[in-house]
């Protein structure tokens, strides 16, 4: 009996202590993440004044308006295209770099450092550099095109090329991070697997297809998820390079939210778009957990 009481007291006191250590995180998450998430859901159901105060409950009207708005459809299209342009090419590039940098040769540390450089580059600084490179009159890209006798492009000013141009710069910006994660994944693969393969005398391609890629797949999958989510969240490069133009061709979802909320002061409409962004990313994350779980059974 006495023991039991004692035990109970310990549990209670450790509940207090545990919560005390967790309190800063819980408070901050509550104020700056969970509360605003619910508030966004709430505001998306209202018409709001310019200060963001709900004025009238309108149910799903904001969403209906969005799905009938050509401008929002352009934005969805731009966002999905942006994911499509940046993710596959970005991953393949990072994978090639990681495979090259995983060879143990002299001076490899230098190349690893160079390949990861873009982690240290901010979106703002990178975008400003790419803006000059894309400059139709003085930028390097048109210099190269004219040197090899191809017609010059307007790059960021041409509605047909603007999104691809922003995507190319984004691939470059993200490569360092994906590279570093993939290199870590490669280095975690058991050396003995390669030893056995070497003894069996299999070729490079066989090793890549049957050892490296399967063993790397959890890491690869993680990088794909992070890249998709990152592409959905892109903002800085759009703001600096194109401002969502020309003709809204680069008006990706986060930029559209920013413009509606803080330039057009339509907080309800912006919140509705934020809710859709939330569900998109939730979907990708859940997919990651599900497929990630299934993978464990394979092994």
């Amino acid at each position: 009996m006495k023991r039991k009481i004692n035990k109970k007291r310990i549990t209670r006191s450790s509940f207090g202590a545990g919560m005390l250590y967790l309190l800063p995180s819980i408070l901050l998450f509550g104020i700056f993440l969970f509360y605003p998430m619910f508030k966004t859901l709430y505001l998306s159901l209202f018409w709001t004044d310019t200060q963001g105060n709900p004025v009238q409950y309108v149910g799903l009207e904001n969403f209906m308006y969005l799905f009938e708005s050509p401008s929002f459809m352009t934005s969805i299209k731009a966002t999905l295209l942006f994911v499509l342009y940046t993710v596959p090419v970005g991953i393949v590039l990072a994978l090639i770099l990681a495979l090259l940098a995983n060879e143990n040769v002299k001076g490899i540390g230098f190349f690893r450092t160079m390949f990861s450089s873009t982690i240290g580059m901010s979106v703002a600084a990178s975008s400003v550099i790419w803006m000059l490179m894309y400059n139709p009159a003085i930028g390097i890209f048109n210099k190269i095109l004219s040197a090899i006798h191809l017609p010059e492009l307007q790059w960021l000013l041409d509605p047909d090329y603007a999104l691809i141009s922003v995507a190319i710069s984004t691939i470059w910006m993200n490569t360092g991070f994906s590279f570093l994660i993939l290199l870590g994944g490669l280095q975690n693969i058991d050396e003995r697997l390669y030893e056995n393969a070497r003894i069996a005398g299999v070729g490079t391609w066989y090793k890549l297809r049957n050892i490296t890629l399967p063993m790397l797949s959890p890491t690869l999958f993680f990088v794909v998820t992070v890249s998709i989510i990152g592409a959905f969240q892109s903002f800085g490069q759009i703001d600096i390079l194109t401002g969502g133009g020309p003709m809204e061709s680069t008006n990706v979802i986060v930029y559209a939210i920013y413009k509606d909320a803080f330039i057009n002061y339509d907080v309800g409409l912006a919140s509705a778009q934020a809710v859709l962004l939330f569900f998109c990313i939730l979907f990708v994350t859940i997919l990651q957990f599900k497929i990630g779980e299934r993978r464990v059974h394979y092994q």
Binding site: L27, F32, P36, L100, T113, L132
Partner: protein, 270 residues
């Protein structure tokens, strides 16, 4: 390795190094050019002098912006270290009822994109009177699930018996945390600090939203401002400013690339 294979490996490594480094080197070269040279589309400056760098500091309050960025980044780094390590300690060493629910709460924070919460956050910060303040730029970012998980991985390697022994001999929880757990987890703490500093230094959207004068504005917004002022003619000055703001993070990265790789891979896979 067969020489041919080795040579082609190096050729590829060098080729991709040129591709990846080109924009950075380009910015560096342009930063020494006068406007006429840039307009001609030259790649190599006629002389290396620092007049553009000097002008960059004169055109916008670049020094003030740099200071602001340092203050903000260091504050967020320290804040994240404190808040995350406290939480990680509770998750590893203090078993209590409901801990799993809270752990799930931490995981669920990773599913909420920050951009989906920025509108109410803006109004919260406005109501707190934190627009244009260091508080508004830093405090909302102190809690970090990734940081908590990263530290938790390391804390888990500390034997539980050590904790029990400390409790039996009357060493308080906080003393154990401060004098044992933190010192032995130094390497993870440093990894997290580097990660925090890099991400905060490079933050763009939030400072854009909540700062509207130079008092606390960070360099990232400063470079946008300079670029939109000078875009017509003075690319050399703009690139000088770019070089100045990337130097701190590039140096940090070059010093810590190995450590960062280990930390990120751990946080990513486990």
């Amino acid at each position: 390795m067969i020489p041919f294979k080795k040579i082609s490996l190096y050729a590829l490594l060098i080729f991709f190094t040129i591709v990846m480094m080109f924009p950075i080197v380009y910015a560096f070269l342009i930063s020494f050019m006068q406007s006429g040279e840039v307009l001609e589309g030259n790649l190599w400056p006629s002389e290396f002098n620092f007049s553009n760098y000097q002008k960059a500091f004169e055109q916008v309050p670049l020094f003030k912006y740099l200071t602001n960025s340092f203050v903000v980044s260091i504050t967020v780094t320290i804040g994240q270290l404190i808040v995350s390590s406290l939480a990680a300690y509770a998750f590893v060493f203090i078993p209590f009822k409901g801990r799993d629910i809270i752990f799930f709460l931490f995981i669920s924070t990773m599913m909420i994109p920050w951009e989906a919460t920025m509108i109410p956050n803006f109004f919260t910060v406005q109501n707190l009177g934190w627009l244009n303040s260091y508080a508004g730029l830093t405090i909302p970012f102190f809690a970090l699930a990734f940081g908590t998980f990263l530290l938790r991985q390391h804390f888990k390697t500390i034997p539980k018996e050590l904790h029990e022994a400390a409790q039996v001999s009357g060493v308080g929880r906080f003393r154990f945390f401060f004098h044992i757990v933190l010192p032995v987890s130094k390497s993870s703490l440093i990894t997290l600090a580097i990660y925090s500093f890099l991400t905060t230094w490079n933050m763009y959207l939030w400072p854009l939203l909540i700062t509207n004068d130079e008092k606390v504005r960070t360099v990232q917004i400063g470079i946008k401002q300079l670029q939109s002022q000078e875009v017509a003619s003075e690319w050399g000055i703009v690139m000088a400013a770019v070089v100045i703001i990337i130097i701190p993070t590039l140096l940090l990265l070059y010093m810590s690339q190995k450590r960062l790789q280990k930390g990120l891979t751990q946080g990513a896979i486990k």
